[in-house]
């Protein structure tokens, strides 16, 4: 009873607030970021998407954002304050904002909420969106399999969630197809953004003889660590192009041979546009290379021409919908069959993925 009156009073205040704002003011799009916009990775890319919205609609939109918002109690307060400040649409760009997004959305039914990488849409004004990053992992996995000299490739994993496990499987599957002798080393960093821990993880793998590393964390620290190997080890830009690592200061080729870029701009521009012209609808979006949300960055000259061509062919096949990165035959780690010859994985299995595929050693931590 008590809580219901609170909700009612906040909702009333909110609807009065938005009614007053709605007339001829620009549409206000707000963004909540988990890291600093200068992280050079995850948050940086989301912010690029926000800037693209401003670029696309000019004076018709207003952008506001808040950086480094902790996931938890603070997120709910930040979201409520954003709603009270007159935001019309709020993008919450990290998985940990899921419950806060839905809780605040309940109090502000007139404001649209868009939650990245989550699955809860408890109210009609909550949409979710994600990108098929495993498509990018497939391409860099192929390149990793071809580039490794030690036949040991590495994956800096953040947390044992389906998203990450999907990436590990896609990376290894394609490395293995390119090079049957390849072995995968997975290091769990238990963080999304902690340059020191990420660098330690990279260093630990390099010391074990791993010479191609991809990261599922947000900073550029792993690339900086790989650079110390002076051209004997390679890495990939993650989330952002990380082009600064393409060439070393002395002009020699840098550690970044290509990158998986999260390109949120098309989605953000589309959604804010839909809100402005009245065609906005609740969605559960999971787009990838065909929609331009997952992009492979420029390939460095360290990659041989034939490998570049193969990688490009894979990009084209995924983009056209001809090839699905999880196409059978693929067995699970324990040897049991998962996908039969020619069968492709369905989205439900991918989104709940909690197993490694055959050939990966080690266990998924619990």
């Amino acid at each position: 009873m008590k809580r219901r009156t609170l909700l009612a009073s906040v909702a009333l205040a909110a609807s009065l607030g938005t009614a007053a704002f709605a007339q001829d003011d620009p549409t206000k799009a707000c963004f909540v970021y988990v890291g600093p916009i200068g992280d050079g990775g995850w948050t940086y890319q989301h912010h690029q998407g926000a800037l693209a919205v401003k670029e696309a609609y000019g004076d018709k939109v207003e952008i506001a954002y808040q950086e480094s918002v902790p996931e938890g109690a603070d997120a709910e307060r930040v979201l409520t304050q954003m709603a009270l400040s007159g935001c019309d649409i709020i993008f919450t760009t990290s998985f940990g904002y899921m419950d806060a997004t839905n809780a605040v959305a309940a109090k502000f039914p007139d404001i649209k909420f868009e939650h990245a990488t989550g699955y809860k849409r408890e109210h009609p004004n909550v949409s979710t969106y994600n990108a098929r990053f495993y498509e990018g992992r497939a391409v860099v996995g192929h390149i990793a399999g071809k580039m490794t000299k030690t036949n040991k490739i590495g994956y800096i994993a953040s947390f044992p969630i389906p998203e990450v496990i999907m990436g590990i499987n896609s990376y290894f599957h394609h490395a293995k197809m390119a090079n049957p002798d390849v072995e995968l080393v997975v290091t769990w960093a238990y963080t999304w953004f902690d340059p020191a821990k990420e660098a330690d993880a990279a260093r630990a793998m390099l010391d074990q003889g791993v010479d191609v590393i991809t990261a599922h964390t947000d900073s550029t620290a792993p690339l900086a660590e790989i650079a110390k190997e002076n051209g004997n080890a390679w890495g990939f830009g993650q989330a952002s192009d990380m082009a600064a690592f393409t060439t070393n200061d002395d002009g020699t080729p840098g550690p970044r041979i290509t990158s998986i870029i999260d390109e949120w701009s098309p989605y953000y521009v589309k959604r804010v546009g839909a809100l402005m012209d009245g065609t906005y609808e609740q969605v559960d979006s999971w787009a990838g290379m065909p929609e331009g949300e997952v992009v492979i960055g420029p390939m460095n000259d360290a990659i041989p021409e034939d490998v570049k061509a193969e990688a490009q062919a894979m990009i084209d096949a995924i983009t056209s919908g001809e090839y699905h990165p999880f196409t059978g035959p693929i067995n699970k780690q324990d040897g049991s069959a998962w996908l039969a010859e020619g069968e492709t994985a369905d989205d439900g299995t991918l989104l709940g993925m909690d197993f490694y595929i055959e050939g990966i050693t080690g266990e998924i931590p619990q």
Binding site: K2, P36, G72, S85, G96, Y119, F159, Q366
Partner: protein, 361 residues
């Protein structure tokens, strides 16, 4: 020539003046910082200190949020301040906060979906015990082997963070959560929810406990022999020993109390404002509380005010980011300045400035 001269007694005036002067200096230098960043300094300072309390658009929501944000800070800082008074430097309140949250949440979730009224009290006890037990590790190591409690308690924060990551994706993971990390949400389970006691006031059990802790600490430090022993141990360890104070007992008491209060803060946070155990559940309250403890001069009433002030800079800082577009890092810088200036100005509590050379008689 300007000289610093030690005062025979710490100045009472400066003890009270220093925090105020530190706030004023922070406002001035912070204002310069904001103007360099292209924001109107007066507007920025007003947004941080005034708007959360009085802006008609936000205040109705922000004012109660001050209590929500200050509650855990005060609760933890009270526990820390008692130890600091005795010269026991528990830097690991963040870890005790995490363990309190985990133990309290686990005790509750083990009985899900029971609707018994005893669940929440059980969680409170388990939360306090969790924090207490985590703080006992540095206490035992210190009294047994003479280890340094600063290092041990700080290192245990990282252990606790890894346990948090492990339980959120394993033991306490929501079975209905499609394999994603994070526990069930206490907001959706009446029996385990630390809800607002009076709607729209921000008052939840954690805030109530924070007020009780302030009063309790005040009484203990000023009226009780234990408080006297604690202060004596900090101010004159040798005298304390002659007076028959058992130093090991003080270590256990101070660390245990700080751990239990931090654990309580964690439990109230996880079952209330945060709602669930997640990988990134902890957001630095245990470390910020150290600033709060010193800003409040290690005095219970001072800590109460300092906690509220710190909460104000958080909430106001968020508004400043949102409304004026100043970067998040500048707000952290602003908060850091507060402690910096306090420590700087504190020199005048123990020293006075003398201008010109002093004639030797």
């Amino acid at each position: 020539m300007i000289k610093l001269e030690k005062r025979p007694q710490p100045s009472r005036l400066w003890t009270y003046l220093a925090p105020l002067l530190a706030v004023v200096l922070t406002m001035i230098v912070g204002g310069i910082l904001f103007s360099i960043l292209g924001a109107n300094p007066v507007e920025a300072i007003r947004t941080i200190f005034w708007d959360p309390l009085f802006n008609p658009q936000f205040a109705g929501y922000s004012r109660p949020q001050l209590l929500v944000k200050a509650g855990p800070l005060i609760l933890i800082a009270i526990g820390l301040s008692i130890g600091f008074r005795a010269g026991i430097w528990n830097i690991g309140a963040e870890g005790q906060y995490i363990m309190g949250a985990i133990c309290g949440a686990a005790a509750g979730l083990a009985l899900y979906p029971s609707e018994s009224v005893l669940i929440f009290p059980l969680m409170i006890v388990a939360g306090a015990l969790g924090g207490w037990a985590w703080a006992m590790i540095p206490a035992v190591l210190k009294t047994r082997f003479g280890t340094n409690e600063i290092l041990v308690s700080l290192m245990l924060v990282y252990v606790a963070e890894n346990i948090l990551a492990s339980v959120s994706s394993g033991l306490l993971r929501n079975p209905d959560g499609m394999g994603f990390p994070g526990s069930r949400n206490f907001k959706q389970w009446e029996a385990g929810h630390n809800a607002e006691l009076i709607a729209n006031t921000g008052m939840h059990w954690g805030v109530v406990f924070a007020f009780i802790a302030v009063i309790g600490a005040y009484v203990m430090l000023t009226r009780h022999i234990t408080g006297f022993h604690i202060r004596l141990t900090g101010e004159a360890p040798k005298a304390a020993r002659f007076a028959g104070v058992n130093p090991a007992r003080i270590v256990f008491l101070c660390l245990g109390l700080a751990g239990a209060l931090a654990g309580l803060a964690g439990l109230f946070e996880v079952s209330g404002p945060a709602g669930q155990i997640t990988i990134d559940f902890n957001s630095g309250y245990g470390f910020t509380a150290i600033i709060v403890a010193f800003l409040g001069r290690l005095h219970p009433v001072g800590i109460l005010l300092a906690g509220l002030l710190m909460a104000l800079t958080y909430i106001g800082g968020e508004l400043a980011q949102l409304m004026l577009g100043v970067p998040g890092a500048s707000i952290q810088l602003f908060q850091g300045m507060l402690l910096f200036f306090l420590l700087g100005v504190d020199v005048f509590t123990n020293y006075r400035i003398r201008i010109g050379t002093r004639e030797v008689a």
